[in-house]
Symmetry: C2
Subunit: 376 residues, 2 copies
């Protein structure tokens, strides 16, 4: 059986990037290492759509989220958190650990925060210093209207922090044009790399706030990274083999072109939604994003059992819901190094397992609808 | 030319470990991933010589140092820092960032902190909560008598934190028998892996202090890692391909046996010292450790120029001194996946460059002395 990975992180890594990881290790302070980091930093600016330097952290995405919190907020300062799922709630945990005066704007799982909700919260809390938002809420599949959030926050003194961990590279996101002050992501999503690195960019307005905020961390002190990246360096020994491999995946991204990448993900996501709906299944996300498709498990079906069968019988690894969502949704990633023919296979496999599970539908309806939508 | 890496981190990685890194990526919450982490955690206990769980962080070694600080100290609590170089000073930077009431016991570069110095500091500061020490001070090549430090600290209410980043696996270090309460290391030294992971073990006395200390971090909150590792899991998406590859290197370490590993490093270090001294060069470290040999650059020789020639002409990459030590010392690592015949080559290459640089010695004296000492 051929294993196929469809979890929304980690995602499949291109073969030429994997081979890069098998090469001998070299010194991270060498001229060669600096040249590589320089290239990576330049290509990251392209992916972030920013003119500001993008910094490289050796950590999970959560580390970059923590960096975004600890660098921008002094103890007791007010922040608005927009949360619509587990990853918004990850910010809540970090913000609480750092004594934030926290205003939470919340939506139930599956729904998105609207620009109006943000506008109202900011009007009621004019002393807000930072707004935290999530581009792709991977726990539910919704995407947020970050462009609108950016316009609203830009009119205030507050800065906008966006967790782009699973969305960046898979859906349109323009750091500078959308007035995002702090944008962060992880390496294991649309960046086509294994986990281990996180990236973070900061606007001028963002740096102003950071420079006025007392340092409360050492490893995540972004001022150190800013100073280092100006010399194509890192303040601490980085995961340098991952950085070198990231260069290879970034070359692939640049060769495709970021707009083409967004368009490809949009087309793939649209076809996936069509395929799923043709099976009589419904989408869980009210405002679905293009990084992954989240399917509501139909009444009477054991959601977790279906996923186990999919993997055991056909090699397809999709992700279950997390925490309270376990068994209630299926999460199918189509971001990064995943193409239409692989997703088509995943839908075919899902059909086979569903048929076996007593769910009633016309075999072939999903793959046909996918193919039709993809053909456009 | 064949490139050969002799920097004290990163160090060469075994070929079978590198090939592991080229394999397709898989989901980090799968049963397979948990089984792998379980094996790695078990083998790490063996390397640490501890019965306590060893936790896996996705970060540089500095991240684990920060975890050791932020989890054990409340703001304003007193700590004794034993520092004899750049890596002891790394702890100083972190401790300052976390508002520690800091007592610094210092030695000039090249000298080691003595047990008597620690004893005196503890007697003068009976309210000390944590003592911070460095096993191998890689910036100077000295090793500390951690066994003696452990005995002294164990008689008090304080806990002992040891940075084992470059020493662990290369020189004797027994967490439990030596009364080390928090022991940490990085993946890119004697653990034979690229950088990106850090490991940290905590004693019962250590956990007692941690549990009584307010949480001041999220990503480095060790309580989360403790809870997760009990289920062979991590709180945040780990660098899972590195973890899988670490399993392979750990199998190699287990197959050799930790005592044999220590003995091999001791023999190799002894032969290296003999070789260097036979060239009329002197060792920089007063109490040299077995992970690396640090050589004082002789009068009238441009230290940095010699290293550049070594790399350019013969492919051997040694490390320069850091910061104020630049040009004054040469640092030659013989830890991890480095054997006697490679170090012999490094000494041969050093001889060639030294001869060219106008340094007077008998060509062949270094390699002969190395060989003689190694033969035993």
């Amino acid at each position: 059986m051929k294993p196929r990975l469809f979890t929304p992180g980690p995602t499949p890594v291109p073969e030429e990037t994997l081979l890069e990881l098998a090469k001998p290790v070299w010194y991270h302070r060498s001229a060669e290492a600096k040249a590589i980091l320089g290239e990576v930093a330049e290509d990251l600016k392209y992916v972030f759509q920013t003119a500001h330097p993008v910094m490289v952290l050796t950590s999970s995405g959560t580390g970059a989220m923590e960096a975004a919190v600890v660098n921008t907020l002094a103890p007791g300062e007010k922040a608005i958190l927009l949360t619509a799922g587990k990853w918004g709630d990850r910010f809540r945990g970090i913000l609480k650990a750092y004594d934030t005066n926290l205003v939470v704007v919340e939506q139930p799982f599956g729904k998105a925060i609207t620009p109006e909700m943000l506008e109202k919260a900011l009007a009621e809390n004019p002393d807000t210093k930072v707004v935290f938002a999530t581009l792709s809420e991977t726990s539910t599949g919704i995407g947020h209207d970050i462009a609108a959030f950016g316009q609203i926050v830009a009119r205030t003194d507050a800065i906008l922090v966006v967790d782009g961990i699973s969305g960046l590279g898979a859906m349109e996101c323009r750091m500078d044009a959308w007035n995002i002050d702090v944008l962060l992501t992880g390496s294991q999503k649309a960046m086509m790399l294994p986990p281990g690195l996180a990236y973070i960019g900061v606007s001028e307005k963002g740096w102003k706030k950071i420079d006025a905020t007392p340092v409360r961390s050492y490893y995540f002190d972004l001022r150190k990274y800013k100073k280092s990246i100006a010399e194509n360096d890192t303040p601490f020994t980085p995961a340098n083999t991952l950085i070198k491999a990231q260069r290879t995946s970034l070359k692939r991204i640049r060769a495709e072109g970021i707009e083409n990448l967004w368009a490809r993900h949009a087309k793939l996501a649209q076809a996936t939604r069509a395929g799923v709906q043709a099976l009589g299944l419904s989408l869980f996300a009210e405002r679905p994003n293009n990084a992954l498709t989240v399917i509501a498990v139909p009444e009477g079906i054991d959601g977790s059992a279906v996923l186990k069968k999919l993997e055991k019988q056909h090699g397809f690894k999709l992700a279950d819901g997390q925490d309270t969502m376990k068994g209630k949704i299926w999460r199918l990633s189509h971001m990064g190094y995943t193409d239409a023919f692989e997703v088509l296979g995943a839908i075919a496999a899902l059909e086979l397992v569903l048929a076996e599970s007593g769910y009633t539908f016309e075999i072939g309806a999903g793959v046909a609808a996918f193919q039709k939508a993809y053909a456009g």
